[in-house]
């Protein structure tokens, strides 16, 4: 490492105030936009007054009808909040995966959680035909897939990251094959599964928010606590081991936390791609390469990004909807190329 890059790195290890403030402001602004726009066309001042009115100890007549109040508090706000939580969780999980595997291409779905959750969702929709079972089945499917990946990876290659990733590829392919088989047998459920695969915040309510909250809190706390260790891991498994870090254990803890959060997010929102890759990479490019800032900033910008994507999903073709996975991929795919091009230079 050259002197110059060492100094650059030292300069960017700490979480800068400017970055933190930018992150918080973008979350607040996107949340405000998310709350005020939508297919129902609620009056903007009415929405603002209703929000102030909802604060404890403040009374202000918002001038919204019963239907409008219901739309704002039961449909639009939970969707905004859930979008923020899912975005934050996916971005933090993506950043953690990238750190723990030292792989810029890692995303929260790397070890098969998406394929497993997809299989679980397909079983819920096509076999049990009970929509209420979708979330638990997707959650269990995602966790099971990663569990199998981990067991397989350990049995083949001990603690090596490569064997884990390859095991993930195999498990994902296997789960996807079973899913395709089930879909082929139950073709009438194809669209429903497809909608879930493209991500759906359409049916979001407070129930989904409460379902996700405990997992999001615990897992995010664990990943926050591990962000210094992720910096140590970035120098290599052996080197980190020489510094006294139990690499296998750190990897296991972070993977479990990230998987738990991702599976919980996926079970309520479907598969929303690219958030876990593009948000951490943007944060890296803009604010430096230390996980001490990448993890918290990914959380903020992930939340803002997904809220913004959801605003696009529900307004671009209003009153119809675009699948949010299409929106994130539409912005995510070109951006990803840009990141790759930029990264080729300095490294």
């Amino acid at each position: 490492m050259t002197d110059e890059s060492t100094r650059a790195q030292a300069r960017t290890t700490r979480l800068g105030w400017a970055a933190l403030v930018t992150g918080i402001v973008s979350v607040v602004v996107t949340a405000a936009v998310g709350a005020t726009v939508g297919a129902a066309g609620l009056d903007v001042t009415g929405v603002a007054r209703a929000m102030v009115d909802a604060l404890p100890g403040v009374t202000l007549d918002p001038g919204l009808s019963e239907v409008e109040t219901s739309i704002l508090f039961e449909i639009r706000l939970p969707r905004v909040v859930l979008g923020a939580m899912v975005g934050a969780v996916l971005a933090v999980a993506g950043a953690s995966y990238q750190g723990v595997f030292r792989n810029a291409l890692a995303d929260p779905y790397l070890l098969g959680v998406a394929a497993g959750a997809g299989l679980g969702a397909t079983i819920a929709i096509a076999v049990t035909e009970s929509p209420a079972l979708l979330a638990p089945f997707a959650f269990v499917g995602g966790m099971a897939a990663v569990g199998i990946t981990y067991a397989l990876g350990r049995s083949v290659g001990g603690r090596s990251a490569t064997s884990l990733i390859l095991a993930g590829v195999a498990v994902a392919a296997f789960a996807t094959a079973i899913q395709a088989y089930l879909l082929q047998r139950e073709s009438d459920t194809l669209r429903e599964v497809y909608v879930w695969i493209l991500g759906r915040l359409v049916t979001a309510g407070w129930r989904e928010v409460w379902q996700l909250l405990p997992y999001a809190l615990v897992a995010t706390a664990v990943m926050f606590g591990s962000r210094r260790l992720l910096d140590v891991l970035s120098i290599g498994d052996d080197e980190a081991g020489a510094l006294g870090v139990d690499v296998g254990r750190v990897r296991a803890v972070v993977v479990i936390a990230a998987t738990l959060a991702t599976a919980a997010a996926v079970s309520v929102s479907g598969l929303i791609g690219f958030v876990g890759i593009i948000v951490p990479h943007t944060v890296r490019l803009l604010f430096g390469w230390s996980y001490r800032s990448i993890v918290p900033l990914s959380m903020l910008f992930g939340a803002a990004f997904l809220m913004m994507a959801d605003v696009a999903a529900r307004t671009l073709v209003s009153p119809a909807e675009l699948p949010i996975g299409v929106v994130t991929a539409f912005f995510g795919a070109p951006f990803f190329l840009l990141v790759l091009r930029t990264m080729r230079g300095p490294t």
């Binding site: 219901s70 639009r76 035909e129 082929q184 073709s187 909608v195 359409v202 073709v317 909807e321």
Partner: protein, 320 residues
């Protein structure tokens, strides 16, 4: 343009048998002339040629081993009395009960499996690519009837199957029963106040059908307005857009029809959705569960669909 087409369609059906010459009375006396002749066939002598969605199909002799890979075609074949000639139907064909269900798939058809039944006519409702060519190569006539986009398609397909199977008379009679059944359902229904609107739910992620679709046109015949029409004005969703929850609640439909009752949805689950308790249809108990099979097919049971709308409207009007 769209509106006038819809209007025309409504007139066509309401005028029922009047397409022959604008004189319904003569038509009821002589059902065979009620509709323009569809094929070159006269009577029930073979060979016949049927105009299908894959072009003209010639059938040399009366088929004795028919395979239907379309649940709608299965219902049509049995309704026109061609049931005894049917040797196998696909795994989705669950009506009528006596249909010989097999594990053949209409969605991913396997040509070898189809040929093992030695069919002399195959009817398909979906063209995944290659099936028509493969069966043509085996010298087996295939009729491809795509999903109906209007009631006239239903009538054409029923009559076409009648000609192809040697049951033209029965097919025409079935068409008249369907037409008069729909007419009767419309006549029985109360006149709807201007602006009575509905939301037709295809699935629980708020995919819906606009007035331009097959089912949407039937609702229109009852004078109902569709809340989804602004969501697909340019037709880019082919009449099946996905709505947002808040749009549906804001549109506040008077009636909600559920096409997904076989997939766990019911008036109760709809009432439990966040924010939906304020919707007029939910508050006043006008969420109507429909038979998912009937509303996703375009066969003779479309009459039952029309009757359920009629019943729902009667109960809607009796409360208000």
């Amino acid at each position: 343009m769209k509106r006038s087409a819809r209007l025309l369609l409504g007139l066509l059906v309401v005028a029922a048998c009047g397409t022959g010459g604008g004189n319904p009375t003569t038509v009821t006396q002589d059902p065979t002339t009620s509709r323009a002749p569809l094929t070159t066939a006269v009577g029930e002598t073979f060979p016949v040629t049927v105009e299908a969605d894959n072009g003209p199909v010639t059938i040399e002799a009366m088929p004795e081993a028919i395979i239907s890979l379309s649940s709608t075609a299965t219902e049509m074949l049995f309704a026109i009395g061609a049931g005894p000639q049917v040797v196998a139907v696909d795994d989705q064909s669950n009506h009528p009960e006596q249909a010989p269900v097999t594990d053949l798939s209409g969605f991913t058809p396997n040509v070898e499996a189809i040929l093992s039944y030695e069919p002399d006519l195959v009817v398909v409702g979906f063209e995944p690519g290659g099936i028509l060519e493969a069966l043509a190569a085996a010298d087996i006539p295939v009729i491809f009837y795509d999903a109906a986009t209007a009631l006239d398609d239903t009538y054409d397909q029923i009559e076409g199957l009648g000609v192809a199977t040697g049951h033209r008379e029965e097919a025409i009679a079935v068409n008249e029963t369907v037409q008069s059944g729909i007419e009767a359902a419309i006549a029985d229904a109360p006149d709807m106040p201007q602006g009575t609107d509905y939301y037709h739910e295809v699935d629980n992620t708020y995919f819906t059908a606009t007035s331009t679709t097959f089912i949407g046109q039937i609702y229109s015949m009852f004078g109902l307005e569709n809340i989804a029409d602004p969501a697909d004005e340019d037709g880019s969703s082919f009449g099946y857009p996905q709505l947002s929850s808040e749009y549906i609640v804001a549109a506040d439909p008077d009636l909600i029809f559920l096409a997904n009752t076989f997939y766990g949805e019911s008036p109760e689950t709809v009432a439990q959705r966040p924010g939906w308790d304020v919707v007029t249809a939910v508050r006043e108990g006008n969420v109507v569960g429909l038979n998912s099979d009937i509303v996703s097919r375009w066969g003779p049971r479309v009459v039952e669909f029309a009757e359920s709308i009629s019943d729902a409207l009667a109960s809607y009007v009796s409360q208000s």
